[in-house]
């Protein structure tokens, strides 16, 4: 009897605790990863970018149709020669500490951002100078017209040009994370509650003024409808799904593909795509060392790789991935399959045989803790062997891959031949910001493809403003890339979001955001 009473009181206390905690509206999210450094301008870490969208706002933003819309900007104008942009901020904008957001803050933030961002760097290369006109107005002057100014200021791929106070941006070098988290966005970060690797908490920013328009993608009215948002880092996917099923969390940002069938059977839970852009799964080749310094072998891989085979190794639901044969992600306005060969293993074998392949084994870096990468490496390994290329798979963790891929040594001296990665599709939408197509030799992404034609075409893309002209040039770049083969696209794979059915207002932009979300 006594034991019974004890258990009853214990459970009653637990329920009372849960009741007390629910007085405030709280949204609990298991993010797709952990935020490594709380500075979205430091590099291209997507989790830092997602954190940035909670805490900071941007001058421009992509709407649901991936069109650039003004965000913090009220109006802007371009000079007739296209070299001077004048921006006026919305009236009444404030930082989370209540201080007004001024043109000086914007200029300092953009200068800091431009150091680490490829579009920012290009803008500065075009002689960009900023001048403060008054508290709400500033100009951006360029030495020659550059068609990507708004694309750069409204970009959603990390690092995003978020606006922070000038005192923070000026005092913190672009290689050092900021330690003052005063923001310009719809939520405020609670630094005191931060447990790195475990929990981040945010509350509604009372000083934020949303735009009047309805929320659309990353643009429009960013109204924080929940009092508090918590990011709960749950390292184990099964535990996260169980917690979602029990309502201990409301959203799981990135469900492991093997748990999708189980998630679909979980009561009260919806399974959906995170967004329509997805990640650009690809085989990255070391183009400067044997065997893939031989362009004929790289070309053979274009014939060998069938994206559907790779996707079948990780997902059973075909709607969660698409093997679109293009260097641009499936949802890109520049997506084209022009010139892409259909998979043909026999042709691939023949090409390898005719390539003069010297038998150097291809070293595949296998980040085994990532189930997706590990599966893709396994498929790639088998495929390479089938077309006559010797292989050596080296198991390691992702951290080791990130340092090993920087090696330019031959494969028998610690080098590498292939790593598989799935960067955000945002970085593969158009040629200028395209991570994989960059062919500026040592400055290019790991693998260091080198081609002056591609670089010249990428540079001239920025000068075009007409969409049809841009599409035509994007196609020309793809056709040239099919000759140089900087990497092999596998497929676009979508991140899977699972969430409680009682939520409404979830948006599906290319970065997960939590304004506009409320409980029904």
């Amino acid at each position: 009897m006594k034991l019974h009473l004890l258990v009853a009181s214990f459970l009653a206390a637990s329920v009372a605790f849960a009741g007390a905690a629910s007085a405030e509206s709280i949204l609990r999210i298991k993010p797709s990863g952990d935020v490594k450094a709380l500075d979205p301008m430091l590099g291209s870490d997507s989790m830092a970018r997602n954190y940035g969208y909670m805490v900071y706002d941007t001058l421009f933003a992509l709407d649901a149709d991936l069109k650039i819309q003004p965000q913090m900007v009220e109006k802007w104008a371009t000079s007739s020669d296209g070299k001077i942009y004048t921006f006026t901020l919305r009236d009444g904008l404030k930082f989370s500490d209540g201080a007004p957001i001024t043109a000086k803050d914007v200029i300092s933030s953009l200068k800091r951002w431009s150091v680490n961002d490829s579009l920012g760097q290009q803008m500065m290369t075009n002689g960009a100078t900023f001048v403060e006109v008054d508290n709400r107005t500033f100009t951006l002057s360029l030495s020659k017209p550059w068609g990507l100014v708004l694309d750069a200021l409204g970009k959603a791929g990390a690092p995003v040009p978020f606006i922070m106070p000038a005192r923070v941006a000026d005092a913190t070098p672009p290689t050092t994370p900021v330690t003052d988290y005063t923001g310009s966005g719809p939520f405020m970060f609670l630094a005191k509650e931060w447990v790195p690797g475990a929990k981040l908490a945010f509350v509604r920013n009372p000083n934020y003024t949303p735009r009047a328009e309805p929320a659309s993608g990353l643009a429009g009215g960013k109204t924080a409808k929940m009092d508090r948002v918590e990011w709960v880092i749950i390292p184990d996917q099964q535990t996260a799904l169980d917690a979602l099923g029990k309502g201990e969390i409301d959203i799981n940002e990135d469900l492991s593909a093997d748990l999708i069938p189980l998630a679909k059977e979980t009561k009260g839970v919806t399974v959906a795509k995170q967004d329509d852009i997805g990640v650009a799964q690809q085989i990255r080749l070391n183009t400067i060392k044997p065997p893939f310094n031989n362009v004929k072998i790289r070309e053979a891989l274009l014939y060998a790789v069938n994206g559907d085979d790779f996707l079948a190794a990780v997902i059973s639901d075909p709607s969660l991935g698409k093997a679109c044969k293009s260097f641009y992600t499936c949802s890109s306005p520049y997506h084209t399959e022009a010139g892409f060969p259909s998979p043909d293993l026999e042709t691939a074998k023949k090409m390898v045989a005719e390539s003069g392949y010297d038998g150097t084994p291809a070293v595949l870096l296998d980040a085994t803790e990532n189930a997706n990468i590990h599966a893709f490496v396994t498929v790639a390994d088998q495929l390479l062997q089938e077309i006559g290329i010797k292989t050596k798979v080296e198991a390691m963790d992702w951290a080791t891959v990130t340092s090993r891929r920087a090696s330019k040594e031959p494969v028998d001296a610690g080098g590498w031949s292939i790593f598989i990665s799935g960067p955000g599709g945002l970085d593969f939408l158009e040629p200028v910001g395209h991570l994989g197509l960059r062919s500026n030799c040592e400055k290019a992404w790991f693998g260091w493809p080198c081609d002056a034609d591609i670089e010249a075409m990428r540079a001239s893309f920025a000068d075009l403003t007409n969409l049809d002209e841009r599409k035509a040039l994007a196609e020309k770049i793809q056709l040239r890339a099919l000759q140089t083969v900087p990497y092999i696209p596998i497929a676009t794979q979508y991140q899977i979001r699972t969430y409680r059915n009682d939520l409404s207002g979830l948006l599906t932009p290319p970065a997960p955001v939590y304004w506009n979300v409320e409980r029904k």
């Binding site: 830092a48 490829s118 290689t175 447990v195 029990k246 951290a399 080791t400 970085d427």
Partner: protein
């Protein structure tokens, strides 16, 4: 006694230095670059190099080690490469969940394992003994994460009695604190119960064959007082030793348990730090674990004098 304690504490200094040097060397030799992880996938080598310089990761081994050691001797374990927070702060944030988990595990384990071992010894060769030994083999054989998932499925999912994951600090109430910790503690206890039960049984069997036990029984003492008052105290030295040694087992188990139950403890802190190559955090946590282990063993050595008056230092 005081001399013994001082001598033991002083002898830990070279041990700590060796551990620090060993861990530092391992980390230095291990591949992986935190700067590359901070910079993200899009970063060029130039950007990564710039971050390396800012973080001081381009410095030679000896400069980094001496610098770290100098700070460590002053109680400063450095700054996390990723969070830019002091390592002592990070460990401080994570200490309560891990200590709570370990303490509850020890309490559960001792409360279950010691009576189990005593019962097995008292019934040597009978079905109770065999059942206890079967349970011990099960505890040793089944991985902690399997037990964890099983408990979670039964008590959290099917019966809906307890939460699946997370941690509630003690300051927010004992009931939610216990609700979050009870399943992980039971999961972690399994192997510990097996270990303690087996050593208790062996030690008790040895003691129960002694003359003074026969004398106690001849004087008419019941089974309970003979087992738990006369025998157990004299059998407790090896039991206490195993409890102390088993702390290392608990530390390893806590890493897995904290992951399965999403408890923000020191175990998860060090796993995350290893995956990211957050060197100061790894060094700080390993040093902490080493100090804890040395101090626990010292405490056990001192406990011997209480349990066995013949032991003198």
């Amino acid at each position: 006694m005081l001399t013994f304690v001082c001598r033991r504490l002083l002898s830990t200094i070279p041990v700590m230095l060796f551990i620090a040097l060993f861990v530092f060397s391992l980390l230095y030799l291990a591949p992986g670059d935190p700067a590359a992880l901070i910079a993200g996938d899009q970063a060029s080598q130039t950007e990564i190099d710039a971050i390396r310089v800012t973080l001081g990761l381009d410095q030679p081994f000896y400069i980094r080690f001496v610098g770290w050691l100098g700070h460590a001797l002053r109680g400063d374990l450095g700054i996390s490469i990723f969070s830019q927070l002091p390592v002592t702060t990070l460990i401080g944030q994570r200490l309560e969940p891990t200590l709570s988990l370990m303490l509850l595990t020890v309490i559960i384990s001792v409360c279950i394992a010691v009576p189990m071992g005593v019962l097995a010894a008292a019934n040597q060769g009978r079905w109770i003994d065999r059942a206890v030994m079967a349970i011990a083999v099960f505890g040793f054989s089944v991985p902690v994460f399997v037990v964890g998932y099983l408990l979670s499925w039964v008590f959290a999912i099917r019966l809906n009695l307890l939460p699946v994951q997370g941690y509630t600090p003690l300051a927010e109430g004992f009931a939610p604190f216990l609700a979050n910790l009870i399943l992980p503690a039971i999961a972690l206890s399994c192997v510990y119960i097996a270990l303690i039960a087996r050593i208790t049984r062996t030690s008790m069997i040895d003691v129960l064959s002694q003359d003074y036990i026969r004398t106690a029984r001849a004087k008419g003492l019941g089974q309970g007082p003979v087992l738990f008052i006369h025998a157990l105290k004299n059998a407790s030295v090896p039991i206490v030793t195993v409890i102390g040694i088993g702390i290392a087992l608990l530390i390893g188990g806590a890493v897995v348990t904290e992951t399965v139950f999403a408890i923000p403890g020191v175990g998860r802190l060090v796993v995350d730090a290893i995956l990211r190559r957050d060197y100061p955090v790894i060094q700080g946590v390993v040093l902490l674990f080493s100090v804890a282990y040395v101090l626990i063993n010292l405490a056990i050595d001192l406990l011997y004098t209480v349990l066995d008056p013949r032991v003198r230092y």
